[in-house]
C-alpha cells in the first residue's frame, strides 16, 4: 500500500513551511500537500520519513518558498498579462493539465478484457443463437469466464453507462474512450465502478457473471467505433 503521512508528520511539515516565511494561505496548503506527496513518494520507495523529510528540507534550503510566494503575488498583481503573452512554459503547463484527458481521448482499446488468458467461445458475426434458435448477428465476442472473474478496462476511459437489462445484456458497463471508441462489457455479476469515473487500461471494472440471457458463464464484450459494433478481436493486442 502507498504511504500516507500521519497527523503528526503533516504538522511537522507545516511548521517547516511556516519557518520559511510562506504566509500566503492558498499557497501554504498547496505546498504542504506538495511536500507531503514528495515525502510519500520517497517513503513508497522504502525511505524513512526522517530521511525523506530531510531531503525535502534540503531541497527548500534557502528562500525558495518565500520567493515562490513573492513571485505568485507579483504575477497575480500584474495587470498587463494578456493571452498573447502566454509563454511556452505556460502553454506547456496548460497542455499538461489536459494531457490526461487527451491521453484518454487518443487511446483505442488494445487488450482483452480478461487479460492475457482468454478463450473466445463465440466470435463476432453471424451465428446460430443457442437460446433464440435462429441465426443472428453477434455484435461482440463471448469470452469464457467462470463467475467472479475480474473484468478489465481495455483502454483508458471514463465510465459512461451502467445498466441492468435482464433479458439481454444483464448487468453491463459502457466505457467511453475517445470520440470514436466505446467498449461494452455485459453479463456481469458485480460492478465496481461508477458513472463518470476515470479508469485506466487494465483496471478491474467488475466481475463476470451470468446475469443476462446466456447458457454458460461468460463475458460478452463489444467494441463500438463511431457508433458501430466492430470485431473486438482486432483490438486484443499483438
Amino acid at each position: 500500500m502507498s504511504a500516507e503521512l500521519n497527523h503528526q508528520q503533516v504538522s511537522f511539515i507545516e511548521s517547516f513551511i511556516e519557518t520559511k516565511g510562506l504566509e500566503y494561505e492558498p499557497l501554504q496548503e498547496e505546498i504542504l500537500d506538495h511536500i507531503c506527496c514528495m515525502i510519500e513518494t520517497q517513503m513508497n520507495q522504502g525511505v524513512t520519513f526522517h530521511q525523506a523529510s530531510k531531503q525535502v528540507f534540503d531541497h527548500f534550503r534557502k528562500d525558495e518558498l518565500k520567493e515562490l510566494q513573492d513571485q505568485t503575488i507579483q504575477l497575480l498583481n500584474q495587470k498587463k498579462w494578456t493571452m498573447k503573452k502566454i509563454t511556452l512554459l505556460v502553454f506547456g503547463l496548460m497542455l499538461t493539465v489536459v494531457t490526461i484527458t487527451w491521453a484518454i481521448n487518443l487511446d483505442p482499446p488494445k487488450v482483452s478484457p480478461l487479460g492475457e488468458n482468454y478463450k473466445i467461445t463465440s466470435g463476432y458475426g453471424m451465428r446460430f443463437h443457442p437460446i433464440l434458435k435462429k441465426k443472428k448477428r453477434h455484435v461482440g465476442v463471448d469470452l469464457k469466464a467462470p463467475i467472479g472473474t475480474p473484468v478489465l478496462s481495455t483502454a483508458d476511459g471514463v465510465i459512461e453507462k451502467i445498466e441492468d437489462s435482464p433479458n439481454t445484456y444483464g448487468k453491463y458497463i459502457i466505457i467511453k474512450h475517445d470520440d470514436a471508441y466505446q467498449t461494452l462489457y455485459a453479463q456481469l455479476s458485480e460492478i465496481k465502478v461508477e458513472v463518470g469515473q476515470k479508469v485506466k487500461v487494465g483496471e478491474t471494472i467488475g466481475l463476470s457473471g451470468n446475469s443476462g440471457m446466456s447458457t454458460a458463464p461468460h463475458l460478452h464484450y463489444e467494441v463500438i467505433k463511431d457508433g458501430k459494433r466492430v470485431d473486438p478481436e482486432q483490438y486484443f493486442g499483438p
Partner: protein, 87 residues
C-alpha cells in the same frame, strides 16, 4: 490534476529531462486561475487540502488557439525544410 501530479507528469513525459520546479509551477497555476483559464476544486483530507486543476472553457479555447498557431508554425517549417514533400 493537482500540483505534485503535474510536476511528476511533466517529468515522466519528458523521461526525466524536464524538471518543473515548484517555483515555476505554482505561481503560473495561480495566475492561470486568476485569469479564468483553469479552475480548481479543493479536496480536504485530514490537515491536508489538495487542489485539483482543470481547464475552463476559456482555457480550452486558449490551448486550441495556441495549438493551431503551433501547427501553422510546424507546417511552415515543413515547407521550408522539406519543400518536396509539401503539397
Amino acid at each position: 490534476m493537482y500540483g505534485y501530479e503535474i510536476s511528476q507528469h511533466v517529468k515522466s513525459l519528458s523521461e526525466g529531462k524536464l524538471i518543473l520546479t515548484e517555483g515555476a509551477l505554482y505561481p503560473t497555476l495561480h495566475k492561470l486561475e486568476s485569469e479564468g483559464l483553469v479552475q480548481t476544486e479543493k479536496v480536504f483530507f485530514g490537515k491536508r487540502a489538495r487542489k485539483y486543476y482543470s481547464l475552463t472553457t476559456a482555457g480550452n479555447k486558449a490551448v486550441s488557439n495556441k495549438l493551431e498557431e503551433f501547427q501553422e508554425f510546424v507546417l511552415a517549417m515543413q515547407l521550408i525544410l522539406f519543400p518536396k514533400q509539401a503539397h
